[in-house]
Symmetry: C2
Subunit: 203 residues, 2 copies
Amino acid sequence: MNNVIAIGREFGSGGREFGRRLAGELGYEYYDKEVLTEIVNHTSLSENYVHEVIEGKAHRLFPITIEQSFNIAPDYSMQQVQDIFRAQTDVIKKMAHSSNCVIVGRCADYILREEPDIRLFRLFVYADIESRVRRCFDRAPEGENLTDKEMRKHIYKIDKDRASYYEDYTLQKWGDKANYDMCINTTNVNIERVVPYFAKMFK
Amino acid sequence: MNNVIAIGREFGSGGREFGRRLAGELGYEYYDKEVLTEIVNHTSLSENYVHEVIEGKAHRLFPITIEQSFNIAPDYSMQQVQDIFRAQTDVIKKMAHSSNCVIVGRCADYILREEPDIRLFRLFVYADIESRVRRCFDRAPEGENLTDKEMRKHIYKIDKDRASYYEDYTLQKWGDKANYDMCINTTNVNIERVVPYFAKMFK
Protein backbone atom coordinates (compact mmCIF):
# COMPACT_ATOMS: atom_id res chain seq x y z
CA MET A 1 0.00 0.00 0.00
CA ASN A 2 1.55 3.31 -1.09
CA ASN A 3 1.79 6.40 1.04
CA VAL A 4 0.60 9.48 -0.79
CA ILE A 5 0.96 12.98 0.63
CA ALA A 6 -1.37 15.36 -1.21
CA ILE A 7 -0.49 19.00 -0.59
CA GLY A 8 -2.82 21.95 -1.09
CA ARG A 9 -1.21 25.34 -0.61
CA GLU A 10 -1.77 29.04 -0.60
CA PHE A 11 0.28 30.82 -3.24
CA GLY A 12 3.57 32.04 -1.79
CA SER A 13 3.34 29.88 1.34
CA GLY A 14 6.17 27.61 0.24
CA GLY A 15 3.90 24.59 -0.16
CA ARG A 16 5.77 23.50 -3.24
CA GLU A 17 9.16 23.79 -1.54
CA PHE A 18 7.74 21.96 1.46
CA GLY A 19 6.50 19.13 -0.76
CA ARG A 20 9.72 18.88 -2.76
CA ARG A 21 11.89 18.76 0.33
CA LEU A 22 9.55 16.33 2.06
CA ALA A 23 9.64 13.98 -0.93
CA GLY A 24 13.44 14.23 -0.97
CA GLU A 25 13.65 13.52 2.74
CA LEU A 26 11.38 10.49 2.49
CA GLY A 27 12.67 9.16 -0.83
CA TYR A 28 9.19 9.57 -2.35
CA GLU A 29 8.42 10.57 -5.91
CA TYR A 30 7.52 14.24 -6.27
CA TYR A 31 4.78 15.35 -8.65
CA ASP A 32 3.92 18.94 -9.38
CA LYS A 33 4.21 20.19 -12.95
CA GLU A 34 4.58 16.54 -13.97
CA VAL A 35 0.82 16.20 -13.50
CA LEU A 36 0.34 18.89 -16.12
CA THR A 37 2.74 17.23 -18.57
CA GLU A 38 0.98 13.89 -18.16
CA ILE A 39 -2.45 15.46 -18.71
CA VAL A 40 -1.16 17.06 -21.88
CA ASN A 41 0.01 13.62 -23.03
CA HIS A 42 -3.41 12.17 -22.23
CA THR A 43 -5.50 14.79 -24.00
CA SER A 44 -3.43 16.09 -26.92
CA LEU A 45 -4.42 19.62 -25.93
CA SER A 46 -1.73 22.30 -25.72
CA GLU A 47 0.23 22.70 -22.52
CA ASN A 48 -0.79 26.34 -22.23
CA TYR A 49 -4.43 25.50 -22.60
CA VAL A 50 -4.33 22.72 -20.01
CA HIS A 51 -2.37 24.97 -17.65
CA GLU A 52 -4.93 27.77 -17.96
CA VAL A 53 -7.71 25.35 -17.16
CA ILE A 54 -6.19 23.50 -14.22
CA GLU A 55 -4.93 26.68 -12.59
CA GLY A 56 -8.50 27.95 -12.71
CA LYS A 57 -7.75 30.83 -15.06
CA ALA A 58 -10.11 29.61 -17.72
CA HIS A 59 -12.77 27.52 -16.12
CA ARG A 60 -14.85 30.40 -14.78
CA LEU A 61 -15.78 30.92 -18.39
CA PHE A 62 -17.53 27.58 -18.33
CA PRO A 63 -20.76 26.78 -16.67
CA ILE A 64 -20.57 23.44 -14.89
CA THR A 65 -23.92 22.18 -16.07
CA ILE A 66 -24.82 21.40 -19.64
CA GLU A 67 -28.11 23.23 -19.24
CA GLN A 68 -26.30 26.54 -19.13
CA SER A 69 -24.42 25.85 -22.33
CA PHE A 70 -25.51 29.14 -23.89
CA ASN A 71 -22.92 30.73 -21.60
CA ILE A 72 -19.97 28.88 -23.09
CA ALA A 73 -17.23 31.13 -24.32
CA PRO A 74 -16.24 30.30 -27.89
CA ASP A 75 -12.53 29.69 -27.20
CA TYR A 76 -13.02 27.02 -24.57
CA SER A 77 -14.93 23.81 -24.97
CA MET A 78 -16.68 22.47 -21.92
CA GLN A 79 -16.06 19.01 -23.26
CA GLN A 80 -12.32 19.73 -23.27
CA VAL A 81 -12.43 20.99 -19.71
CA GLN A 82 -14.20 17.84 -18.64
CA ASP A 83 -11.66 15.78 -20.58
CA ILE A 84 -8.90 17.60 -18.73
CA PHE A 85 -10.42 16.87 -15.34
CA ARG A 86 -10.92 13.24 -16.31
CA ALA A 87 -7.30 13.01 -17.46
CA GLN A 88 -6.18 14.74 -14.25
CA THR A 89 -8.07 12.13 -12.23
CA ASP A 90 -6.55 9.26 -14.19
CA VAL A 91 -3.03 10.67 -14.05
CA ILE A 92 -3.15 11.30 -10.29
CA LYS A 93 -4.56 7.86 -9.51
CA LYS A 94 -1.90 6.25 -11.67
CA MET A 95 0.85 8.20 -9.90
CA ALA A 96 -0.59 7.25 -6.50
CA HIS A 97 -0.60 3.56 -7.38
CA SER A 98 2.91 3.60 -8.86
CA SER A 99 4.91 4.40 -5.71
CA ASN A 100 5.01 6.41 -2.50
CA CYS A 101 4.73 10.02 -3.59
CA VAL A 102 4.05 13.67 -2.80
CA ILE A 103 1.58 15.39 -5.13
CA VAL A 104 1.28 19.16 -5.00
CA GLY A 105 -2.07 20.76 -5.88
CA ARG A 106 -4.30 19.53 -8.71
CA CYS A 107 -7.12 18.48 -6.32
CA ALA A 108 -5.15 15.31 -5.47
CA ASP A 109 -6.50 15.36 -1.90
CA TYR A 110 -10.03 15.11 -3.31
CA ILE A 111 -9.32 12.76 -6.20
CA LEU A 112 -7.68 10.20 -3.91
CA ARG A 113 -9.99 10.59 -0.91
CA GLU A 114 -11.64 7.20 -1.35
CA GLU A 115 -9.06 5.46 -3.49
CA PRO A 116 -8.46 1.90 -2.29
CA ASP A 117 -4.98 0.61 -1.43
CA ILE A 118 -3.62 4.11 -0.85
CA ARG A 119 -2.61 5.55 2.53
CA LEU A 120 -3.52 9.18 1.90
CA PHE A 121 -2.30 12.10 3.98
CA ARG A 122 -3.87 15.45 3.06
CA LEU A 123 -1.78 18.46 3.98
CA PHE A 124 -2.56 22.14 3.55
CA VAL A 125 0.26 24.70 3.67
CA TYR A 126 -0.56 28.33 4.37
CA ALA A 127 0.99 31.52 5.70
CA ASP A 128 0.05 35.08 6.48
CA ILE A 129 -0.03 37.53 3.59
CA GLU A 130 3.05 39.48 4.72
CA SER A 131 5.27 36.43 4.67
CA ARG A 132 3.83 35.31 1.32
CA VAL A 133 4.56 38.71 -0.20
CA ARG A 134 8.14 38.53 1.11
CA ARG A 135 8.59 35.03 -0.25
CA CYS A 136 7.25 36.01 -3.68
CA PHE A 137 9.56 39.04 -3.87
CA ASP A 138 12.53 36.90 -2.83
CA ARG A 139 11.78 34.47 -5.64
CA ALA A 140 10.54 36.89 -8.31
CA PRO A 141 12.12 36.35 -11.72
CA GLU A 142 14.57 39.02 -12.78
CA GLY A 143 12.82 41.90 -14.48
CA GLU A 144 9.51 41.40 -12.67
CA ASN A 145 9.10 44.70 -10.91
CA LEU A 146 5.77 44.51 -9.15
CA THR A 147 4.94 47.00 -6.43
CA ASP A 148 3.94 45.64 -3.02
CA LYS A 149 0.31 46.34 -3.85
CA GLU A 150 0.54 44.60 -7.22
CA MET A 151 2.18 41.57 -5.60
CA ARG A 152 -0.64 41.26 -3.06
CA LYS A 153 -3.18 41.51 -5.86
CA HIS A 154 -1.30 38.87 -7.85
CA ILE A 155 -1.23 36.50 -4.85
CA TYR A 156 -4.92 36.95 -4.07
CA LYS A 157 -5.83 36.47 -7.74
CA ILE A 158 -3.96 33.15 -8.02
CA ASP A 159 -5.52 31.87 -4.79
CA LYS A 160 -8.94 32.94 -6.00
CA ASP A 161 -8.49 31.05 -9.26
CA ARG A 162 -7.25 27.94 -7.48
CA ALA A 163 -10.10 28.13 -5.00
CA SER A 164 -12.65 28.44 -7.80
CA TYR A 165 -11.29 25.47 -9.70
CA TYR A 166 -11.04 23.37 -6.54
CA GLU A 167 -14.48 24.31 -5.27
CA ASP A 168 -16.31 23.81 -8.54
CA TYR A 169 -14.87 20.35 -9.05
CA THR A 170 -14.83 19.08 -5.49
CA LEU A 171 -17.80 20.99 -4.02
CA GLN A 172 -15.55 21.51 -1.00
CA LYS A 173 -14.20 24.77 0.34
CA TRP A 174 -10.58 25.26 -0.66
CA GLY A 175 -8.31 25.55 2.38
CA ASP A 176 -11.02 24.48 4.85
CA LYS A 177 -9.15 22.53 7.50
CA ALA A 178 -11.99 19.99 7.66
CA ASN A 179 -10.79 18.61 4.32
CA TYR A 180 -7.22 18.02 5.44
CA ASP A 181 -5.47 15.77 7.92
CA MET A 182 -3.10 18.53 8.86
CA CYS A 183 -2.55 22.21 8.11
CA ILE A 184 0.82 23.88 8.50
CA ASN A 185 1.45 27.59 8.87
CA THR A 186 4.81 28.47 7.30
CA THR A 187 4.81 32.12 8.42
CA ASN A 188 8.35 32.81 9.62
CA VAL A 189 9.23 29.15 9.26
CA ASN A 190 12.47 28.03 7.67
CA ILE A 191 11.07 25.22 5.54
CA GLU A 192 14.44 23.64 4.87
CA ARG A 193 15.00 23.35 8.62
CA VAL A 194 11.59 22.01 9.64
CA VAL A 195 10.90 19.47 6.90
CA PRO A 196 13.31 16.84 8.27
CA TYR A 197 11.45 17.01 11.61
CA PHE A 198 8.11 16.81 9.89
CA ALA A 199 9.27 13.88 7.76
CA LYS A 200 10.00 11.89 10.91
CA MET A 201 6.26 11.42 11.31
CA PHE A 202 6.24 9.27 8.19
CA LYS A 203 9.29 7.17 9.04
CA MET B 1 14.10 29.52 26.57
CA ASN B 2 11.13 27.24 27.29
CA ASN B 3 9.11 25.40 24.67
CA VAL B 4 5.40 25.88 25.19
CA ILE B 5 2.81 23.98 23.16
CA ALA B 6 -0.57 25.71 23.46
CA ILE B 7 -3.42 23.51 22.31
CA GLY B 8 -6.86 24.71 21.24
CA ARG B 9 -9.36 21.97 20.53
CA GLU B 10 -12.86 21.18 19.42
CA PHE B 11 -14.83 19.35 22.09
CA GLY B 12 -14.60 15.60 21.59
CA SER B 13 -11.65 15.79 19.19
CA GLY B 14 -9.24 14.29 21.71
CA GLY B 15 -7.21 17.48 22.03
CA ARG B 16 -6.80 16.93 25.74
CA GLU B 17 -5.62 13.35 25.29
CA PHE B 18 -3.31 14.54 22.51
CA GLY B 19 -1.83 17.18 24.81
CA ARG B 20 -1.45 14.84 27.76
CA ARG B 21 0.28 12.15 25.74
CA LEU B 22 2.45 14.72 23.97
CA ALA B 23 3.57 16.15 27.30
CA GLY B 24 4.31 12.63 28.55
CA GLU B 25 6.26 11.80 25.42
CA LEU B 26 8.36 14.97 25.62
CA GLY B 27 8.72 15.07 29.39
CA TYR B 28 6.98 18.45 29.50
CA GLU B 29 4.67 19.68 32.24
CA TYR B 30 1.00 19.30 31.36
CA TYR B 31 -1.52 21.99 32.30
CA ASP B 32 -5.22 21.69 31.79
CA LYS B 33 -7.49 21.88 34.82
CA GLU B 34 -4.44 23.06 36.78
CA VAL B 35 -4.93 26.47 35.15
CA LEU B 36 -8.38 26.62 36.70
CA THR B 37 -7.09 25.63 40.14
CA GLU B 38 -4.39 28.28 39.98
CA ILE B 39 -6.86 30.97 38.92
CA VAL B 40 -9.06 30.04 41.87
CA ASN B 41 -6.04 30.46 44.14
CA HIS B 42 -5.33 33.86 42.60
CA THR B 43 -8.83 35.27 42.85
CA SER B 44 -10.47 33.69 45.89
CA LEU B 45 -13.60 33.11 43.80
CA SER B 46 -15.26 29.70 43.89
CA GLU B 47 -14.03 26.99 41.56
CA ASN B 48 -17.49 26.57 40.05
CA TYR B 49 -17.79 30.25 39.34
CA VAL B 50 -14.38 30.48 37.69
CA HIS B 51 -15.10 27.35 35.69
CA GLU B 52 -18.40 28.75 34.40
CA VAL B 53 -16.66 31.91 33.32
CA ILE B 54 -13.59 30.46 31.62
CA GLU B 55 -15.59 27.82 29.79
CA GLY B 56 -17.70 30.64 28.37
CA LYS B 57 -20.90 29.53 30.05
CA ALA B 58 -21.31 32.72 31.94
CA HIS B 59 -19.57 35.48 30.09
CA ARG B 60 -22.29 35.99 27.47
CA LEU B 61 -24.22 37.54 30.30
CA PHE B 62 -21.65 40.31 30.43
CA PRO B 63 -21.26 43.07 27.95
CA ILE B 64 -17.60 43.65 27.21
CA THR B 65 -17.75 47.43 27.39
CA ILE B 66 -18.50 49.39 30.50
CA GLU B 67 -20.89 51.60 28.54
CA GLN B 68 -23.37 48.78 28.34
CA SER B 69 -23.32 48.16 32.04
CA PHE B 70 -27.11 48.35 32.28
CA ASN B 71 -27.06 44.86 30.76
CA ILE B 72 -25.07 43.27 33.56
CA ALA B 73 -26.79 40.29 35.10
CA PRO B 74 -26.99 40.59 38.86
CA ASP B 75 -25.24 37.27 39.65
CA TYR B 76 -22.04 37.99 37.78
CA SER B 77 -19.77 40.92 38.27
CA MET B 78 -17.94 42.18 35.22
CA GLN B 79 -15.13 43.18 37.50
CA GLN B 80 -14.81 39.57 38.64
CA VAL B 81 -14.78 38.33 35.06
CA GLN B 82 -12.01 40.77 34.24
CA ASP B 83 -10.16 39.68 37.39
CA ILE B 84 -10.46 36.08 36.22
CA PHE B 85 -9.03 36.86 32.81
CA ARG B 86 -6.20 38.83 34.41
CA ALA B 87 -5.47 35.92 36.74
CA GLN B 88 -5.66 33.50 33.79
CA THR B 89 -3.08 35.62 31.95
CA ASP B 90 -0.76 35.73 34.97
CA VAL B 91 -1.09 32.01 35.68
CA ILE B 92 -0.42 30.98 32.09
CA LYS B 93 2.59 33.27 31.73
CA LYS B 94 3.99 31.94 34.99
CA MET B 95 3.53 28.35 33.84
CA ALA B 96 5.18 29.13 30.51
CA HIS B 97 8.22 30.63 32.20
CA SER B 98 8.58 27.80 34.74
CA SER B 99 9.45 24.95 32.37
CA ASN B 100 8.73 23.36 28.98
CA CYS B 101 5.02 22.64 28.99
CA VAL B 102 1.81 21.79 27.15
CA ILE B 103 -1.17 24.01 28.01
CA VAL B 104 -4.62 22.93 26.86
CA GLY B 105 -7.21 25.62 26.12
CA ARG B 106 -7.62 28.78 28.25
CA CYS B 107 -6.58 31.09 25.37
CA ALA B 108 -2.92 30.21 26.05
CA ASP B 109 -2.11 30.52 22.34
CA TYR B 110 -3.26 34.15 22.47
CA ILE B 111 -1.94 35.03 25.92
CA LEU B 112 1.58 33.88 25.02
CA ARG B 113 1.67 35.10 21.41
CA GLU B 114 4.15 37.88 22.05
CA GLU B 115 5.66 36.68 25.31
CA PRO B 116 9.44 37.09 25.30
CA ASP B 117 11.78 34.16 26.03
CA ILE B 118 9.17 31.57 25.12
CA ARG B 119 9.28 29.33 22.04
CA LEU B 120 5.53 29.04 21.42
CA PHE B 121 3.91 26.42 19.22
CA ARG B 122 0.17 26.89 18.71
CA LEU B 123 -1.71 23.74 17.85
CA PHE B 124 -5.40 23.29 17.09
CA VAL B 125 -6.95 19.81 17.30
CA TYR B 126 -10.21 19.10 15.48
CA ALA B 127 -12.24 16.27 14.04
CA ASP B 128 -15.44 15.70 12.14
CA ILE B 129 -18.65 15.62 14.13
CA GLU B 130 -19.25 11.88 13.67
CA SER B 131 -15.95 10.96 15.21
CA ARG B 132 -16.44 13.46 18.04
CA VAL B 133 -19.85 11.99 18.85
CA ARG B 134 -18.33 8.48 18.91
CA ARG B 135 -15.52 9.62 21.16
CA CYS B 136 -17.89 11.34 23.57
CA PHE B 137 -20.12 8.26 23.80
CA ASP B 138 -17.07 6.05 24.40
CA ARG B 139 -16.02 8.27 27.28
CA ALA B 140 -19.42 9.20 28.70
CA PRO B 141 -19.68 8.80 32.46
CA GLU B 142 -21.82 5.91 33.61
CA GLY B 143 -25.46 6.89 33.83
CA GLU B 144 -25.23 9.63 31.20
CA ASN B 145 -27.73 8.42 28.65
CA LEU B 146 -27.82 11.07 25.98
CA THR B 147 -29.35 10.30 22.61
CA ASP B 148 -27.24 10.83 19.50
CA LYS B 149 -29.08 14.08 18.83
CA GLU B 150 -28.58 15.30 22.41
CA MET B 151 -24.88 14.47 22.24
CA ARG B 152 -24.46 16.50 19.06
CA LYS B 153 -26.28 19.41 20.65
CA HIS B 154 -24.09 19.11 23.76
CA ILE B 155 -20.90 19.14 21.65
CA TYR B 156 -21.98 22.13 19.57
CA LYS B 157 -23.02 24.00 22.71
CA ILE B 158 -19.65 23.55 24.40
CA ASP B 159 -17.80 24.61 21.26
CA LYS B 160 -20.03 27.62 20.92
CA ASP B 161 -19.32 28.67 24.52
CA ARG B 162 -15.60 28.20 24.08
CA ALA B 163 -15.65 30.10 20.80
CA SER B 164 -17.53 32.99 22.41
CA TYR B 165 -15.13 33.26 25.31
CA TYR B 166 -12.10 32.99 23.02
CA GLU B 167 -13.40 35.47 20.47
CA ASP B 168 -14.53 38.10 22.95
CA TYR B 169 -11.20 38.10 24.76
CA THR B 170 -8.83 37.65 21.85
CA LEU B 171 -10.82 39.32 19.04
CA GLN B 172 -9.68 36.36 16.96
CA LYS B 173 -11.85 33.68 15.39
CA TRP B 174 -11.68 30.47 17.40
CA GLY B 175 -10.35 27.57 15.33
CA ASP B 176 -9.24 29.80 12.44
CA LYS B 177 -6.09 28.14 11.15
CA ALA B 178 -4.47 31.55 10.65
CA ASN B 179 -4.05 31.76 14.44
CA TYR B 180 -2.22 28.45 14.80
CA ASP B 181 1.10 27.05 13.67
CA MET B 182 -0.46 23.71 12.96
CA CYS B 183 -3.91 22.12 12.92
CA ILE B 184 -4.42 18.39 13.31
CA ASN B 185 -7.49 16.46 12.28
CA THR B 186 -7.97 13.49 14.62
CA THR B 187 -10.88 11.95 12.73
CA ASN B 188 -10.22 8.21 12.68
CA VAL B 189 -6.80 8.78 14.18
CA ASN B 190 -5.48 6.62 17.00
CA ILE B 191 -4.03 9.38 19.16
CA GLU B 192 -1.94 7.05 21.28
CA ARG B 193 -0.28 5.71 18.15
CA VAL B 194 0.40 9.02 16.38
CA VAL B 195 1.59 11.20 19.26
CA PRO B 196 5.05 9.61 19.47
CA TYR B 197 5.56 10.41 15.75
CA PHE B 198 4.30 13.92 16.24
CA ALA B 199 6.53 14.39 19.28
CA LYS B 200 9.59 13.66 17.17
CA MET B 201 9.19 17.10 15.65
CA PHE B 202 10.09 18.63 18.99
CA LYS B 203 13.06 16.42 19.76
